[in-house]
Amino acid sequence: MNLLSLLIILPLLGALALLLLPRASDRAARGIALATTLVTFAVSVVLFASFRATAEMQFVERVAWIPQLGISWYVGVDGLSILLVMLTTFLMIIAIGGSWNGITERVKEYHILFLLLEAALIGVFVALDLFLFYVFWEFTLIPMAFLIGIWGHGRRVYAAIKFILFTMLGSTLMLVAMLVLVFANRDATGALTFALSDLLKTPVPLALQPILFAAFALAFAIKVPMFPFHTWLPDAHVEAPTAGSVILAGVLLKMGTYGFIRFNLPLFPEAARSFAPILVVLALIGIIYGALVSIVQKDIKSLVAFSSVSHLGFVMLGLFALNAQGMSGGILQMVNHGLSTGALFLLVGMLYERRHTRLIADFGGVAKVMPIYAAFFLLVMFSSVGLPGLNGFVGEFLILVGAFRANVWYAAFAATGVVLSAIYLLWMYQRAMAGPITREENRTLKDLSPREIALLAALAVFIIWIGVYPRTFLDPIQTSVANLLGMIN
């Protein structure tokens, strides 16, 4: 069987197994979910190991689905998507493992939704048929909205609806744009097809490019989220359960940035070039604005959420520098952000499970009672700050090299984000983790359990690996990046 189809089907099978076990205990449900994610990850490792660093699509499977409309089950993977597939399968393990004790209600349903989400996310990253992509794209929405709405915190319903509305607004436009694109293509070639590879064969008319680019871009920009479409994000994160935040920040946001490189850039190259400065400026605003707003957050989770706006600004800056370093850095930084922000949300969640608060002011001196936790916190924090030797630096610096080559000022503005990220994270650490213990409740906090250590250690391995030897992850994407740039320039 095709490995990619297998990757999509495995989580579905896991979900089905959970569904068919009506009397499954919570423990069994967790076990099945975890086993499913582990097997899926193992399969993705096989995929990665047999991935060749060429520009072509690999592990392609194409089966007609609705032939009358030219829609097919068409999947494949290349350098632009391989890392995101790996990130998804890896973070899913962390998400399931991270909610082992935190989720006690409707455990079965919770895990079914997560497995559905995994299938949909993998589908998004491997779909090569526009309609199939759209189906997966929309399908990620449902489990995520339920995860926020049911297992979330205080204003969870507001957050879930906001999340749905924002995303739907964009994706509706995207659907219309897809249809226009497909029928324009039919008018030009006589063939009705949703397959990306077919659509790429015929250049999109210059007159259509800007409007289609804008429609796609809006859908993706909301997802990223780019300033000023970001306000759904802090709400969604603050209200989402921990694992939901891990996946939301770690993977779901990457659907947006991925959409840009998979569709916007190759389909509308001329428009991409002329729109690039606008997107870069928005990215730069996002970098600085997100960082500044992070500084004054009182809730650790919304601090991390706003920091995502800043970090995703870096990714967008890299992608739209439209050169090899920027784009490679941008793609690698998607993974880096997934790892470090995922880890940050996990860490915040661990604290929340113990104290049922996320306000910085409720903590102080935690490092004294939770030294192992503090050590991981430091590592993840500095990964997020972009400290050399850890993953964030490699991506960030490549992006800056790319930005510098595109325009000196891009890099100069973006580099201020490097200073600001140190301010908001270190200040938060100073208040929450250092200092004397100010609240009695914090005096008895328990340090990490072996399960929690294992989860964080797994993240730490990749945080250090990418920092010290990024070639494992950079080399496979080079030719695809070069190929894509060749299509634009």
Binding site: L165, K368, L378, V408
Partner: protein, 647 residues
Amino acid sequence: MTNYLWLVPALPLAGTIINAIFSRKMPRWLVSIIGVGSVGLSFLVVLTQFIALLDSDEPHRVINVSLYTWIPVSDFKIDVAFLLDPLSAIMLLVVTGVGFLIHVYSVGYMAEDENYGRFFTYLNLFVFSMLILVLGNNYLLMYVGWELVGLCSYLLISFWFHKPAAAAAGKKAFVTTRVGDFGFGLGVLLIFATFGTLNFDQVFHAAPQMFAVGAPVMTIITLLLFAGAVGKSAQLPLYVWLPDAMEGPTPVSALIHAATMVTAGVYMVARSHELFALAPLSSEIVAWTGALTAIFAATIALVQMDLKRVLAYSTISQLGYMFVGVGVAAYGAGIFHLMTHAFFKALLFLAAGSVMHAMGGVIDMRRLGGLRGIMRWTYLTFFAAALAIAGVPLFSGFFSKDEILAAAFGSGHIVLWAIGLLTAGLTAFYVFRAFFLTFHGAPRWETEHATRPTGHASQDAQHAAVHPHESPAVMTVPLAILAVLAALGGFVGMPSVMGHNWIAEFFHPVFGAHEAHLPPLTEWLLMGASVAAGLVGIATAYWFYLARPEIPVRLAARWSGIYDLLWHKYWVDEIYSALLVEPGRRLAMWLWQSVDVGTVDGFANGLGRTVAGASRVLRGWQTGYARAYALMMLIGTVIVIGWLMLR
């Protein structure tokens, strides 16, 4: 021999990893052996490399060793590769040699600390990072080491993180130096954009061929690099983090904030001397920044009462000297002073730490005094270091400081020379003021000791002894060794009128053989002037603090405006807070509350409310069942597709 160069950083790294993971389960002696031993072995490897370098003839004293390719993306290709040459060799000797002594000392100093393992983990990580900084053969690897030492500085300043002041100081250090690194980072990017490479040898080879002296690009590159140096080496206007960094354990102050890390900026400028040679304006700015910082910090040190802070301002001031040296193109002299300073300043700090150790954490000189008879070794070694920094002839600081001043004079920078000379006098004064206040006179601690508030006991104060005592041998032996180095270390760089300047010659493969020589008479006169300045400073300190202690009190009252200005360190921290920190925080708050919550999100919510109002009309459609929505979506989609197909 260079096959083993990688061991130099690898050994401390191994120490870090082992202690990081296992130190909680290991006995202390094992933690010490791993922590101290790894740096000791690293020092031995450095010695073999150094000897190999001495054995080879001059042209072969520059060796590049590549380990692996780190980041290759298209034409951007960075190797993890090391450069061994006379400059990095001297730095390696200082880092591992002085570093080893401070590690040994820490075994005694930190003996009672509950986080002993964590301390050595961080300390080894620092040595590793500093070695990467020094060994890197390209700007990016240097930047890596540069940031990593910043991390270690942060971790070690806030080592006693339960003290709010320590936690705040660590953050301040990291953020302030990052402001400088913003420039350094852009400088690295500009170097790559200009030369297409970041490797030292390629950049330095290409620069003189591509650019004439004074080319704007070279000026911009060197100024951006220097911005990083200003942050890391605590120069005006970014020096403010270093005095606060004294919240860290004293061995950290000695190793990181005196002997090694803070000198990284000097090393960086010296390493980039080919670039600075093409940017006379930048060199001029380097020299002036150094001179102004030197005298500025020295004046603050005149009145401070915290012994460690006096030494901190002294470090800032001495770093200023080094920048004067490298700014007037006397690169060898700058590095020479870096080396002697590492000896005597590390010694001053360690001796101060020994005093703290003895006094149960007291470091306020108003509560010291009369320790001369009780702490013989500490007293004598501090004395040796004080003589060295005051520039008393034949002590190490005399040679190196004199070489810098002579170079400033010789290159026509008479004003810089005069500032340096005045600073030399101030230096001698404040160091001997500290020396007399701490070790001489009547003890000021017996009476106060009994009433010392117990709740205030800091970690430093945990080994509080009722009676001051000399420190154990594990601390005094490193003091003694450093004292020998501080006393005699200068003889490797004697001025030409006195003998052979070995170190200048050793640097020839890096800096070239263009040291200017002044006429002997001028050189003797300059030397006499600096000696005189130093002796006047010492004599004044003696007069003020031993002979006539009422004089400084009277002076402070008489010139209270100036005294207050110095005592409050020119109010710089307060000014920064009012002009930068507070407005920044308010801007962020405004962005969040008004722009984000108010405008952007308010717009989205308002839109939502409008739609909700409008859709009240369509309420009948809203059944609340997901399947109904799904059906409607499906119908809608089919209609759209159908219309498009049939049109």
